[in-house]
């Protein structure tokens, strides 16, 4: 077993990628490791694949994956929009892994991201010693992706300052990155493209300029459509994470998972699953990703401090922490939910008590 905490997608699923590549007879766009059909199969999974089952990476509408793959095949950049926790980053990582075999060319957008992260920087020691030269240049991930014909990923595009965002415009429209200092330019090799993710819920972000926006095809990732789908996603990820973190084997408490998903969905939608009771929504997004992390930490608790079985008390603390982001208003929301909804449910007694204890 590897000692890496979280292997890259292309390493973790190397066997599946190899399997798909072997049987892939369809035409591949230049620079692609797999044909678009194989990429779609890789993402959506195929239990009946002739070489062996392919696990689904993205559980959700098929059309989303198809549009994403088709977009990248047209050399248009792809913008994945969605509230936090809708698997934007996850999807972009797997797309990059399947198409380029490399998901590491990543620019993380933050308020402090500088233009060097998108274009290039300088190795100042060499710059001083040798003067401007190609060797003194420190290429950004985007520049490397262009030169090698791979996919570059830009995370949280809207968190970057606007001027840094706009540095992408030339890259996306001209497919070239000029280096005026050397009177050179890097032209993108075939296969280069950009996948950006952005979260459309945060306030105080830097909206994309329409010039940049128009260079992206936009795909909005939805929250899981049904409770069953969400339970499926959560249980799948929880068991994967458990294995990766080498947590002691804990019986997969599907009931507990269902409960957490139910709580999250009800609070997110503002109405109980049976549609009868209105509840307030807290300020947090309560995404599927948060449900996964609540359960993973619950399993860790159960494994190390509990009796090895995931119980209500193991998830209670995590769930309270996830819901109550704003200590004042969210606490009211949570208490109300606890007293009006959770308490009424016969088979949720243990959970109710555990949540009361947890705060």
């Amino acid at each position: 077993m590897t000692t890496v905490l979280r292997p890259h997608a292309e390493d973790q699923y190397a066997d599946e990628l190899a399997l798909l590549a072997k049987g892939d007879e369809r035409p591949r766009p230049p620079g692609w490791k797999l044909s678009p059909w194989a990429v779609t199969t890789y993402l959506l999974g195929d239990p009946d694949h002739p070489g062996g089952p392919i696990t689904p990476k993205y559980i959700g509408p098929r059309r989303i994956v198809e549009v994403a793959v088709a977009t990248l095949a047209t050399d248009r950049a792809l913008l994945l929009l969605g509230v936090p926790g809708t698997a934007k980053t996850w999807l972009s990582e797997h797309l990059a892994a399947a198409i380029s075999g490399d998901s590491t060319l990543l620019v993380q957008g933050t308020a402090g991201t500088a233009e060097e992260a998108v274009r290039y920087g300088w190795n100042y020691a060499r710059l001083l010693a040798e003067g401007p030269s190609r060797e003194a240049l420190t290429p950004s991930p985007v520049m490397r992706a262009m030169a090698e014909g791979r996919l570059a990923r830009v995370e949280e595009l809207t968190r970057m300052p606007s001027d840094v965002q706009d540095a992408l415009i030339t890259v996306l429209s001209e497919k070239t990155l000029p280096i005026p200092e050397l009177n050179l330019e890097v032209q993108a090799a075939k296969g280069f493209n950009v996948i950006a993710t952005a979260n459309d819920r945060d306030r105080g972000v830097n909206e994309l300029s329409s010039a940049l926006r128009r260079r992206f095809n936009t795909v909005v990732l939805p929250v899981p459509a049904s409770a069953e789908e969400e339970v499926d996603i959560v249980s799948r990820r929880v068991s994967q994470l458990g294995r990766a973190l080498e947590l002691p084997e804990t019986p997969a408490g599907l009931d507990e998972i269902r409960r957490v998903v139910t709580v999250f969905r009800e609070l997110r939608d503002g109405v109980t699953a049976d549609g009868r009771t209105k509840v307030k929504s807290p300020s947090g997004t309560l995404s599927t990703a948060e449900a996964i992390s609540v359960l993973t930490s619950g399993i860790a608790l159960a494994a190390h401090f509990g009796d090895g079985v995931l119980r209500a008390s193991d998830v209670a603390a995590g769930i309270v922490g996830a819901v109550v982001q704003d200590p004042v208003s969210d606490r009211v929301v949570w208490q109300e939910y606890l007293e009006t909804v959770v308490r009424e449910r016969e088979d949720w007694r243990d959970f109710y008590r555990a949540c009361r204890d947890a705060g």
């Binding site: 198809e66 088709a70 977009t71 095949a73 047209t74 992206f216 795909v219």
Partner: protein, 972 residues
């Protein structure tokens, strides 16, 4: 013919869909073109195939009674989508539609025949039978009771095709359409075994659907097919599954629609395989037998090359040699009704199941596009989408369109489809043109994919007179029926707009909600906002309404009369609502029976609350009638009578009420109070005050126009009143006044207020009945004589009534002249109630407040202190306070005396009593606006509220007052 024909139709197959048939000693070539209803691919194929075959007769699936209507299809004024409407005169519930869009194969066949100058005929079971067989469309898809038929005919051909194509193309279709489509399939009667027959099966089913859709009013019908679906298997689904498609619609699209040519022979073979082993149900057999019979008749007539356009499902049945005897047997003794057929305009929306029902076509706009533009359809489509978005001000550049086209193509490639379908272009539009935003996608759906379009039929189409009249009116008033809802703002001060408004109101009365009233911004009563959306079923409603009259107003009057005279008819409040509508629609002829009905109903109704509920609508009608110039003559007398009855009944009605009913009562009292305020403003001579009003009431008998003229011209009415001046107005006023008044006038207050009410009501009742006018007038004069004697001569009639009604005013003396009588009468009644001691606290408090606000009483503080005194249980006091303070706490802010009283009472409560009344107080004060609560709190906090009189410096205020008066139009 069958009897004379040889025993069998002999057929020698040439190809699966073409053969030679002989009948009656003649022989002809027969080609059966199996199509998908409303399939653009099929339509193109039919067009090309007909051009190749050069037939001398085209037979189309549809009711043969429509043969006479075929020439209209070639009329230049005919514009699809249109539908054949079959209906049974006198039984509007039995109707069926056969819709045709421009891209329907049947329509193309009709057009071909017209161009080529050859006859086209319909060959399905006559509507006379299909309407008779399936009276409920709901139940029988085929006969589609109506719809079916509509569809059947089609459906056989159309519906299926229609549905498929759509579905095929639209992923969406999957979302909505599917249902449409599936159900159909489901419906198909036994196709279960022959799933492939998809088309065939679809037909039957679809027809049902389509029928239902058409009968938009009965969606339930539409659903029926679904229930039946369980019986049958989806034939298209089987074919598609065999081809490896998970979505049957998409299969159809790929396999047939997008191939550019429809291999009719292949379809015929596939259908033969699908139908193998399928036993058609009786109705289906009858239809097919009739089609065969029509073919034989055509052969006998001497046609040599016959092309039949029908739903693919029927192809095997038409190419197999049936026997004349068997067919005759099947068609023997079919039930029959009298059916009439005509063309009616249809809409794309009705073809779509987008709105819930339709012919199962989810994307008529897209189909129409595919049919019209074979050249680069994707590019053209996305360009149109971009135009649509630009019209709404969304920035979409050509670069967007280019990228969207590329994405649509690569998506189609990725999905392994020969041509990008609706699913792909929609995805492309969403990701590129709309940048992931769902709202613009919806816009494209509505404007383009469904593509609202309303067909048009030529003037020479058979129509009922009512339809023709409405058509003329629409032209005259320049109101074009359109399928997409559109807002019209009418300014009733303009004659054209006024007429438009009347037309729309009249249609509403008939039951044709072409226009829907919208809230207008602004308060002017001269503005009306309508949202106009023409729906095809309105034509059915028009035909139904034709029994009531030949013009829109005549039908509307007859309709109102019918409702008003129905003894088991609507309740009083509904009648007054109807009256309001009648006035809006300017249907003066309907007024007398309606007013009589209201008068009768009011006289018999003992429940004063119902009377009170009816009053506000009447008052609005009366007032609004003025604005619109509607002669509201007669209305006043009813109002007067209703008010009088209400006044009379009020006192007993407020006795023994529990909390909840008291609260309801209060709402009605408030409503009447505000209605009464509309009735006349004493400060405004322009408004007919009571005398003028009663003048009107009297008038109708005498001369409608003359009277109302006076009433409207406020100056006269007013002056007449005060000055004793003119004749008729006063005489009139004298009448009700007398009846009500003199006896009670003296005694004044509440007790008598009741009595006059009754008297009053009797009189106007007469006044209403025009026949009695003479009598009414006469007593009026006599009355005025009396009153003269009784009262000061100068005040004449109105003086009398003034006294009788308004004791408050009478007391205050001379002010009586300007008093608005109904108002005073009402306040007198209220005061009578308020003076009683056994009224619920809530009501009493509220009444005191109303009277206080109206300055009818000036002893509010005394009454309050009485009500707050310790003699009353705290709960009653609290509800008194609630009633008194309801509607805002400003009073407490400004009237220090009252505040002090409330404060004293509150602080004087014992702790127990305080706890008891706390909820009530909370409710009262909780309703105040926060700033009011704050001000009250501040006042209390700033120390014991001083009982100071506020003094006004009139000189200082004069400027402001003048300005305000000028704004209000009352500058002196």
């Amino acid at each position: 013919m069958t009897s004379t024909a040889p025993a069998a139709m002999r057929a020698e197959p040439r190809r699966a869909n073409a053969l030679r048939v002989s009948a009656g000693g003649r022989e002809a070539g027969l080609t059966v073109l199996g199509i998908r209803h409303h399939g653009p691919g099929s339509a193109r194929a039919v067009r090309d195939e007909l051009a190749r075959l050069v037939p001398d007769l085209v037979l189309i699936e549809g009711p043969p009674e429509a043969d006479a209507l075929v020439p209209l299809a070639a009329d230049p004024d005919m514009e699809p989508p249109v539908a054949l409407l079959a209906h049974v005169p006198g039984d509007p519930s039995r109707a069926a539609f056969w819709p045709f869009a421009g891209f329907s194969p049947e329509w193309q066949a009709l057009q071909y025949a017209a161009r080529a100058g050859i006859p086209a005929r319909f060959c399905d079971l006559p509507a006379a039978h299909s309407l008779a067989i399936r009276p409920d469309s709901a139940q029988h898809p085929d006969s589609a009771q109506h719809p079916d038929s509509a569809q059947h005919p089609d459906s056989a051909q159309h519906p299926d095709s229609a549905q498929h194509p759509d579905s095929a193309q639209h992923p969406d279709s999957a979302q909505h359409p599917d249902s449409a489509q599936h159900p159909d399939s489901a419906e198909q009667p036994e196709p279960a075994e022959a799933p492939e027959s998809a088309e065939g099966s679809e037909l039957p089913e679809r027809p049902e659907l389509s029928e239902r859709p058409e009968l938009s009013e009965r969606p339930e019908l539409a659903e029926e097919p679904d229930t039946r679906s369980g019986i049958r298997v989806d034939p298209i689904g089987a074919l598609a599954e065999a081809a490896g498609y998970d979505d049957p619609e998409r299969w159809w699209e790929d396999a047939v629609e997008h191939r550019g040519d429809t291999p009719f022979e292949v379809i015929a073979e596939a259908m033969a395989a699908v139908r193998d082993g399928h036993t058609p149900d009786l109705y289906e057999s009858q239809r097919e037998a009739y089609m065969r019979r029509t073919i034989r008749a055509a052969v006998k007539e001497g046609f040599t090359e016959i092309a039949v356009v029908c739903g693919a499902w029927h192809v095997p049945a038409l190419t197999e040699p049936g026997t004349v005897v068997a067919d005759t047997q099947l068609l023997k003794g079919l039930p029959k009704v009298k059916a009439e057929l005509t063309w009616v305009p249809w809409t794309h929306g009705r073809l779509a199941s987008w709105s819930g029902y339709g012919a199962g076509i989810t994307s008529p706009g897209w189909y129409g596009h595919l049919f019209e533009h074979q050249d680069r359809p994707i590019e053209r489509w996305l360009t149109r989408a971009a135009h649509t978005l630009r019209e709404e001000g969304l920035p979409v550049s050509s670069a967007h369109v280019i990228e969207a086209v590329r994405l649509a193509h690569s998506l189609a490639l990725l999905r392994g489809r020969p041509l990008a379908g609706l699913a792909e272009v929609t995805e492309a539009a969403r990701a590129v043109l709309c940048e992931g935003d769902e709202l613009p996608v919806e816009l494209i759906q509505r404007r383009l994919v469904v593509g609202e379009r309303l067909g048009q039929v030529p003037d020479s189409t058979p129509m009922v007179p009512l339809q023709r009249h409405l058509r003329d009116e629409q032209r005259r008033l320049r109101l074009k029926p359109e399928a997409l809802a559109r807002v019209h703002d009418l300014d009733l001060r303009k004659p054209l707009d006024l007429e438009r408004s009347r037309l729309l109101h009249r249609l509403l009365v008939i039951g044709i909600p072409w226009g829907e009233r919208r809230e207008t911004s602004g308060k002017g009563t001269f503005k009306e906002s309508w949202s106009l959306e023409w729906r095809p079923e309105f034509d059915v409603a028009l035909i139904e309404a034709a029994a009531w009259g030949v013009t829109v107003p005549a039908a509307a009057v007859a309709r109102i009369r019918e409702r008003a005279e129905d003894p088991a008819g609507p309740a009083l409040a509904d009648l007054t609502g109807l009256l309001e509508q009648t006035l809006l629609a300017d249907l003066a002829d309907a007024l007398p029976p309606l007013l009589r009905a209201i008068g009768d109903r009011a006289a018999l109704d003992h429940d004063v609350r119902r009377l009170m509920a009816a009053l506000p609508a009447l008052v609005r009608a009366e007032r609004y009638g003025d604005v619109r110039g509607t002669p509201a003559a007669g209305l006043r007398s009813i109002i007067t009578s209703l008010l009088a009855r209400s006044c009379a009944g009020l006192s007993p009605a407020v006795t023994g009420l529990d909390d909840d009913t008291a609260r309801e009562m209060l709402v009605q009292i408030d409503a009447v109070t505000s209605a009464v305020a509309l009735l006349g403003d004493p400060n405004e001579p322009g408004k007919p005050s009571d005398p003028g009003v009663s003048g009107e009431a009297v008038a109708p008998g005498e001369a409608g126009s003359g009277v109302s003229g006076e009433a409207v011209a406020p100056g006269e009415a007013g002056s007449g009143v005060s000055g004793e001046a003119v004749a008729p107005g006063e005489a009139g006023s004298g009448v009700p006044g007398e009846a009500v008044a003199p006896g009670e006038a003296g005694s004044g207050v509440s007790g008598e207020a009741v009595a006059p009410g009754e008297a009053g009501s009797g009189v106007p009742g007469e006044a209403v009945a025009p026949g009695e006018a003479d009598e009414v007038v006469a007593p009026g004069e006599a009355g005025s004589g009396v009153s003269d004697g009784a009262v000061a001569p100068g005040e004449a009639g109105f003086g009398v009534s003034g006294e009788a009604v308004a004791p408050g005013k009478a007391r205050s003396g001379g002010s009586g002249e300007a008093a608005a009588i109904p108002r005073d009468r009402w306040f007198a009644a209220l005061r009578g109630v308020a003076d009683r001691s056994d009224v619920p606290g809530l009501i009493e408090g509220r009444l005191v407040r109303i009277l206080f606000d109206a300055e009818v009483i000036d002893d509010a503080d005394a009454r309050m202190s009485r009500a707050l005194s310790l003699g009353h249980p705290p709960a009653r006091v609290a509800s008194w306070v609630e009633g008194f303070l309801s509607g805002g706490g400003l009073l407490l802010v400004h009237d220090a005396r009252l505040l002090a009283m409330v404060d004293d009472w509150l602080t004087g409560l014992s702790p127990e009593a305080f706890v008891d009344v706390l909820p009530l107080l909370r409710r009262t004060f909780g309703a105040f606006a926060p700033p009011e609560r704050r001000s009250i709190g501040n006042r209390i906090a700033s120390g014991a509220p001083a009982r100071t009189e506020t003094t006004y410096d009139e000189g200082q205020a004069a400027g402001a007052v003048r300005t305000v008066l000028a704004i209000l139009g009352r500058a002196r």
